[in-house]
């Protein structure tokens, strides 16, 4: 067969083939037409077979040997870099060592190689600029066979993505991690650095201290000095709409102007959503191009699936992912502050573990009954003292349930003081109101009683409004309702006690079930134990 007969051309091809295997750079000026055609075909076929080759031949890649480190073990691989774990011989500390993936350099054009090397260099230069508790620190930079490597802290733990996929984190823990990461990102922004690829995969949580650390500055950019590297990178799912538009248009100029802190803030919001739901932020069954198109139009999965995400967190997420960058948080610190506020929100359940059930099943029925009883007593014109006792008797189950359900710990003290002072204030205000009315209507006890109910409702309206400032926003509407109720009772004074009693019972039930400060969660239990 002719094929098996060696000839000069085949021998030249074989030489070229061997040169490529050896990683020699072939001088294009010295090759003939057939050879240059061969190089073109080689690089074309290699581009599309290389990923498959790597998948099939894992373990075949040569692990570099660094003089400062013991044997290296591969622990991760990204689009650009490969990360190893190794023991630093002098310090006896385990570090993570990052190199450019050799296959990304092989057969790339000289410009391509330079671009990759520049970006890699920028990664450690930017990461080394900031020292922050929640940013993986860079330790050392070195070179091996013209290839730069750098070492950084080895984080023994798992990424936020793995943790959220396994559902091994509670909502409070995720929010706590994201709050700290947002503050780290804010620090980066203050130093003029954009991260550019914030996603759960790039947030590592240290197992021993439960400390989140942000890593992978491979796509980071400095807003000052250093040039913006051309090309749109980053993971589509976490890419801001303006970036997605630029990616679709392949517009370099557009990209240079739109890369702002707002894009990082967008990614923070999507990261929070994705960590809370354990879902990918992209619609499944979409091709990458369709995903980019949805994102650039602001059509996001984030807006459609809120699952069990608490209302305040969902608001914060939606503010991050606003289509117009100027509608997002101005700084990552503001986002972090909102998360802090959510973390620090009052949690009655933590300090009054049984209050929810007591409010619903004891206080609410008692208030309804005392309303009905007061109405009946008034209509029967019994002795005044019994009626007033019935009215103010309603405070006993309320205070009783506070007393019975409260935790006897120091840390619970301030939350308890808040609850006690608001409702003791309500009680004392009502008693003095009753006393004043009784004195004003000296000769008509019934008149004083009927006038008391609208005033009592008005006092309640004030209390609920006061609570809405710091606590559940629904208290505002409950306050409005009680304001309206005061007028209604004044118009229908004879059934005032019934209206009041039933409304009070209903309000108790609504608060017990609606105010998420009463909703028990595992985090609270683990904290209280």
């Amino acid at each position: 067969m002719n094929e098996n007969q060696p000839d000069l051309s085949n021998e030249a091809l074989a030489e070229l083939e061997r040169a490529l295997e050896g990683g020699e750079r072939v001088d294009l000026a010295e090759v003939n037409d057939e050879q240059s055609e061969m190089l073109r075909c080689f690089s074309f076929v290699d581009t599309y077979t290389r990923p498959i080759r790597q998948a099939l031949n894992c373990g075949d890649e040569i692990v570099p040997i660094l003089s400062d480190y013991g044997e290296l073990e591969e622990i991760g691989r990204g689009g650009m870099g490969v990360v190893y774990r190794g023991l630093h011989l002098k310090t006896q500390r385990v570090d993570a060592i990052k190199l450019i993936r050799p296959d990304r350099l092989a057969l790339n054009s000289p410009e391509g190689v330079k671009q990759i090397q520049d970006r890699f260099q920028k990664e450690f230069q930017l990461a080394a600029r900031i020292a922050h508790e929640n940013i993986v620190p860079v330790y050392q930079v070195g070179e091996i066979e013209n290839q730069t490597w750098f070492s950084m802290q080895y984080v023994n733990g798992a990424s936020l993505r793995e943790l959220s996929r396994n559902k091994s984190l509670l909502t409070e823990e995720i929010v706590h991690h994201l709050e700290r990461i947002a503050r780290a990102v804010a620090t980066m922004h203050q130093h003029g650095i954009l991260h550019g690829d914030i996603k759960p995969q790039n947030i590592l949580v240290e197992r021993s201290r439960q400390r989140p650390l942000i890593t992978d500055f491979g796509l980071a950019d400095a807003t000052d000095g250093l040039d913006v590297i051309s090309g749109v990178h980053g993971t589509i799912a976490y890419m801001a709409p303006e970036m997605a538009t630029a990616a679709l248009n392949d517009s370099q100029e557009e990209l240079a102007t739109i890369r702002t802190t707002a894009a990082d803030i967008y990614s923070l919001g999507v990261t929070l959503w994705s960590s809370l739901t354990g879902l990918s932020p992209c619609f499944e069954k979409q091709t990458p191009r369709e995903q980019l198109e949805s994102i650039s139009r602001g059509h996001l999965r984030v807006q459609h699936e809120s699952r069990d995400i608490p209302h305040e967190l969902m608001n914060a997420i939606l503010k991050c992912v606003a289509l117009d960058p100027s509608d997002r948080y101005e700084t990552a610190t503001q986002f972090a502050d909102d998360l802090t506020m959510w973390i620090e929100r009052p949690r009655w359940n933590r300090y009054f573990p049984k209050l929810r059930n007591l409010l619903c099943f004891v206080v609410a029925p008692v208030l309804v009954m005392s309303g009905l009883l007061a109405w009946w007593l008034i209509s029967k014109s019994v002795a005044e003292v019994w009626i007033w006792s019935t009215i103010f008797g309603g405070y006993f189950p309320l205070f009783g349930s506070f007393q019975l359900s409260q935790q006897k710990t120091r840390i619970a003290h301030s939350a308890q003081r808040e609850l006690w002072s608001v409702w003791l204030g309500h009680c004392i205000g009502s008693i003095s109101c009753a006393a004043s009315l009784r004195i004003a209507c000296a000769h008509d006890a019934t008149q004083a009683l009927l006038m008391f109910y609208p005033c009592w409702a008005a006092i309640s309206a004030v209390v609920f409004f006061a609570k809405s400032g710091n606590f559940w926003t629904m208290y505002r509407w409950i306050g409005t309702f009680w304001g309206g109720l005061a007028v209604a009772i004044a118009l229908l004074p004879t059934v005032g006690p019934i209206i009041f009693g039933v409304s009070a019972g209903l309000t108790c039930a609504i608060i017990a079930w609606g105010d998420d400060a009463f909703v028990p969660n595992e985090f609270d239990l683990s904290q209280s134990e």
Binding site: L13, A14, P51, A55, A247, K285
Partner: protein, 189 residues
Amino acid sequence: MPLIDTNLEDNIRKLRPVLLTLAEALISGTYRDELEASDLVQQTLVEAHEHAKLLETFGDGQFFAWMRTALRHNVLDAVKQLNSKKQNVHRKVRAADIEDSFIRLDQLLVADETSPSQLLQRNEQIAEMLAAIQQLPDQQRKAIILKHLRGKSLNEVAETLESSESAVAGLLHRGRAQLVASLEDQNRE
């Protein structure tokens, strides 16, 4: 007889050469004399027909994922069967490697992870490349698979194919030229 959707038939026709190249690449080393790639793929396709109802509901990506999983099981089953016949430490290692290979392949093809805009169509082009390899003449195909999918050196390919290095260089060059031509044709269409 399960009712076969024409769409499913289309998908199977498109994927058959892709799976065949994958299977050939996988067994090209240790098992090349004992396992037949086309048998493994055929078995996988028969299973796809049996699950026609389920597969009809899958999108293209998920369909490919299902086929890969099915192929993986078939390859591993075949390998395990061979291993139980003859005791060989080398083989045990290879079975674990095949499992790893599929896991890496799946990671590589997951849409969520693909990022830069220039890689948008990557998966599709990889599949096209794998399919086009099946259209090459026998020797060229073997050489390309060994060299580009198994990462063997020219010397090793020549040894496996029992041919000279220069002849293999010629095979590789002609095979690559044809692949480039057929893929460029497809993209022009």
